[in-house]
């Protein structure tokens, strides 16, 4: 895992060689730099030597299942939770031990955290009043911010009189009121209805584009992350699994975990037969993996359901075989079928068919199809060396 983490960080923020060690100065474009951040709760390690850089103006999502450490990392950046080890820089300033008030960020929580006894206006002005600005200036600023989040005439209402989506906009306006250098969003959409969520995520993204404020959003919703982020930081068990653009994360997941967590993927237990060839049960498959895979290694092979070819497959095509449709799940715009190879019962995978394709191919349970698995769509995740495999077998 360790090597993987260094790789991903390097890939995410290319820097001159030698600048990647912890504690060294970051690349000039980095606004937020995290180095070797560790946080333990008793015996449980919530964050394990996290390294990360976020560029100025970037929209970054922390993605992972609950308990992966993404919120802990966000709260450590905010200064709301203290790290046990490691260093945090914001805007070139070391804030590792600075209190939250000295870190220059705005934050929005899943629960909105609006002050229920204050009007919308007072909520937005909350951070401004404390700076002893003239009243008129504050009022003008509040008006501007409410217009910005699309709630121009709601200032006199109390939070309880607004819908969830509206409340979250107010929270956003409040967080932006003091013009922070960093905007932190902690699962801001999770408490909202599906439709409102879709709508608001577009608005947040547009607003961020317009303001150019460096933004970090924590989410467990991979679809949200893929749709909103410039870059995604996928986390699991307190470490970063991969950092990359949504495309990279989806197309070339660095680990089986990432592949599984982001999007849907079928996994097959396999053994490396030769470079560029693996075996699943009795069947051997070609893979377009550039790495020099050691024959005999146990591996997992992943394939996205939409990459299964069924149209115009010839029996002589690479990785073509006959498969039986075991089950079909109707999902609206498309269907997801479970296919099992006729000659290798261990070779079971999911395949997505659009409504068109369904009609053309005639997908129904029990039918046998000729399918092909494109070698460049097969992702190989090595599990162990052959030695270890033998040791565990004996």
């Amino acid at each position: 895992m360790t090597s993987l983490r260094f790789e991903t960080v390097d890939a995410a923020a290319p820097r001159p060689a030698g600048a990647s060690t912890a504690g060294a100065s970051a690349s000039p474009r980095a606004y937020l730099v995290v180095r070797g951040l560790t946080r333990r709760f008793g015996a449980f390690t919530a964050l394990d030597r996290i390294d990360l850089e976020v560029r100025r103006g970037e929209f970054v999502c922390f993605l992972g299942p609950s308990g992966c450490g993404k919120t802990t990392l966000l709260r450590a950046i905010a200064g709301l939770d203290r790290q046990d080890e490691g260093r945090i820089e914001i805007g070139g300033r070391d804030v590792s031990h600075a209190p939250p008030a000295d870190r220059d960020f705005g934050i929005v929580f899943q629960s909105y955290a609006l002050f229920p006894n204050l009007t919308v206006d007072d909520n937005v002005a909350y951070g401004l009043v404390n700076r002893r600005r003239p009243r008129a200036e504050i009022a003008a600023r509040v008006k501007e911010l409410l217009a910005l989040v699309g709630l121009p005439d709601q200032g006199a209402k109390f939070p309880v009189q607004l819908s969830g989506g509206q409340q979250q906009r107010v929270a956003l306006a409040r967080a932006l009121a003091t013009s922070p250098g960093l905007l932190l969003l902690d699962e801001p959409l999770s408490a909202l209805d599906a439709r409102v969520r879709l709508h608001l995520r577009e608005e947040i993204r547009a607003l961020q584009n317009r303001l150019g404020v460096t933004t970090i959003m924590v989410t467990h919703d991979q679809e949200e992350a893929l749709a909103m982020a410039d870059r995604i930081v996928v986390m699991n068990h307190g470490v970063i699994e991969q950092v990359g653009t949504p495309e990279e994360i989806y197309r070339t997941p660095a680990s089986a975990f990432v592949a599984d967590f982001v999007g849907t993927m079928s996994f097959l237990d396999a053994t490396v037969a030769a470079p560029g060839e693996i075996r699943v049960g009795a069947r051997s498959l070609r893979v377009a993996d550039g790495r020099a895979l050691v024959p005999g290694c146990a591996a997992r092979v992943g394939l996205r359901p939409e990459d299964v070819r069924v149209r115009g497959v010839h029996p002589d095509d690479e990785n073509a075989f006959e498969a039986t449709i075991e089950d079909v799940e109707f999902l609206g715009a498309f269907c997801r079928a479970r296919l099992v190879a006729r000659d290798a019962p261990g070779l079971a995978l999911l395949a997505d068919f659009s409504a068109n394709l369904m009609r053309d191919v005639g997908v129904e349970v029990g039918k046998t199809l000729l399918v092909a698995l494109p070698p460049d769509a097969l992702r190989v995740f090595v599990r162990s060396s052959p030695m270890a495999d033998e040791a565990s077998a004996s």
Binding site: A78, F109, L148
Partner: protein, 570 residues
Amino acid sequence: MSAVLQSSEDVLPTARRFITEQRVVAALVGLLCLALLVAIALPLWALLSKSFLNADGGFVGLANFARYFATPALVQSLINSVMVASLATCIVVPLAFTYAYALTRSCIPAKGLFYALALLPIFAPSLLPALSFIYIFGNQGFLKDLLFGATIYGPIGIVMAQVFYCLPHATMILVAALALSDGRLYEAAAALGTTRWRVFVTVTLPGARYGVVSAAVVVFTLVVTDFGIPKVIGGQFAVLATDAYKQVVGQQNFSMGAVVGMVLLVPAVLAFLVEQILKRRQVALLSARAVPYAPRPERRRDAALLLFCILVGGLVASILGVAVWASFIKYWPYNLSLTLSNYDFAEFEPDGWQPYFNSLKMAGLTALIGTPVIFLGAYLIEKAQAAALGRFFAHFLAMLPMAVPGLVLGLGYVFFFNAPWNPLGALYGTIAVLALNSLAHFYTVAHITAVTALKQIDGEFESVSASLKVPFWTTLRRVTVPICMPSLLDIAVYLFVNAMTTVSAVIFLYGPGTKLASIAVVHMDEAGAIAAAAAMATCIVVTAIAVKLLHLLLDAVLLSRLQRWRVRTG
């Protein structure tokens, strides 16, 4: 949009300010710990250590305890206490259960009124029912014949008065337990054609069993540690609480008093532990999907329960009424004409009306100082980030009084504040120490109320204010306190009413010029002036109820005017 984008010059490092903020938290937590130590821990320690010392302050190990258990009279009191408490528990819990069942699971009319009737005894000192029962069943009682020659002075009178005194506590717990029910279970049972009795046994009882055990535990502890009732109506029937009084006040035998205090602590601590274990088990008894049970009318059941409620509620009101009525009677039982002369307290009591005003002052002080202190303490414990160890310690100390009977705490205060080495000794016998003692005695419930209110507030308010560079005290003032205002009022009224009616904690503590109304009741009863005692008890009840009514009124005003933000429409 440029205005939004501009990075204004006021985003300056404010580290110094925040460090002060953390220091403020640390200092406040330190102060809180110190205050709780003085108010709770040190007096208990003084009691504990006293029980191992002889009269001259020499360490004698367990000799005092050995002497205690070798004295048949004292051991008899222990047995008496346990017996009376068990009996009272066995009567109160089924009574309160049926009453609570009627209030929550039937369609009887005027539920609010019946609930209020059952809660009435809370506003009276425990001495009051004892006085009433003397008038009702005493040797000159108007219903004396109902006892068939048995005497009210002794276990019978104690149990009867304790049932009255404990009824509201058990009823409150059981109403809460029975109100928390999943209506779907009853629908399922009905769909399966289950008989009513089986539904009761298989659904109702298991659902409320923690409430039942909890009520039993609370009642048992209350009875064992109450002092007022056995003092007034116990006759020669000695119990632990009166023993403690006799040892400490009557014979000034502090060591033996401390031993009795320690013995009194045992059932209370056991009860506390049982409750804690139960509470942990009760988690998730009710799923979030539960549908509240809505009782449907059922004529025969409702009629029977209505009759029961009229009987019990009526009895409670009558018992209270007897004391009030008796306080206006000229010379029981020979001259039943009405008079106000029993309220001329100077005739019976050296300080006249002064004890009543002392009580008002003491209860007011307890509420006025206790409410902000308890709330701020709960806020620090619940919301602050710094001084984790101190906050944990403070929380432990705040929960401690729950397990300490008032009488025991009062004894601890005597030993602690009366010790010659204690610089706080000057406070001994002052209103301040009485208020401190009441505050400590009732700290836990008020603390839990405050913590519960604070827990309901979004936990991120402090984070948001920190991100907006607003210090925590500003958010406390502008947001947290206004949101918690109803709970603050609850706490203040709770403290006032309890400080007004308490006897057991303060009986050892009053000094020259600071006698309280409840103590005056004890003294007037001791001197045989039972009508005047009833009159003073009536004054206490009337005051406590008036304060409660004022509270309800204030709550209504608060909700309609100042707390507009709670309501969706508008």
